[in-house]
Symmetry: C2
């Protein structure tokens, strides 16, 4: 299998596969004419990488999983190094989610306060209304 076919089967591009190779994640055999040659095991490596990338893993973080698969294990997460990445990622996700919820609460409070201000000013007579153009271009 050559790079174009592999890319198509994996739902990605040849550029991406060459990039993975340049990062040392996906070394390729070469045919006599210099063309890269792959087999089904390479397809599984790519699927593992893409699954993790969909979870938001950096490319570097997928390396233990890929190494694990290439070491002959049936799953990329059969090795302790992969489990460690899982655990680290869970901690990161928990921290990030907490932070985003905190931000959400703050922004929500700001919005509520600003809306109250606006509604309090409208019936109040000469309260300074906003005169800025209000176009919905950015929606």
């Amino acid at each position: 299998m050559r790079i174009g076919e592999l890319a198509e089967q994996a739902g990605t591009t040849t550029r991406t596969l060459r990039y993975y190779e340049s990062r040392g994640l996906l070394p390729a055999r070469r045919a006599e004419n210099g063309y890269r040659t792959y087999d089904d095991s390479d397809l599984r490596l790519i699927q593992q990488i893409r699954t993790l990338q969909d979870f938001g893993f950096d490319l570097e973080e997928t390396r233990p999983f890929v190494d694990c698969l290439r070491a002959g294990h049936p799953a990329g997460d059969a090795c302790p190094a992969s489990l460690a990445v899982y655990r680290r990622k869970l901690d990161e996700l928990d921290a990030l989610i907490d932070q985003l919820r905190s931000v959400r609460a703050e922004v929500g409070a700001h919005l509520t306060r600003a809306e109250l201000q606006a509604s309090a000013e409208l019936p109040g007579g000469p309260a300074p209304r906003c005169e800025l153009d209000w176009k919905d271009e950015d929606r």
Copy 2:
């Protein structure tokens, strides 16, 4: 007030202020010698920008707030355009948090499954154990 002093008072750098100006967010008066000149109202603009950036707003998203302040309003979120940004951001945050929680659940499930596999194999005798080096360099 010159750019260095303003940067210090705002807790940022001159590079950042010049960048804001290049983006049209923070236009500066000029002294006769060409030096940028600022006053306290500029400090408030920067504080508004930094508050929103801490919330994760893009620079572009702070523009309505800055325009609103420069239009003479006491708060950057006194204008409808700013409120619209708040609402859009809340939607984005909600969507992102949901997505991250979904990812967290999936990664957690993967970890649990892999841990079960590992513990099931250890007592089973010749089960293929991972032989990859396990260094904690990346912790």
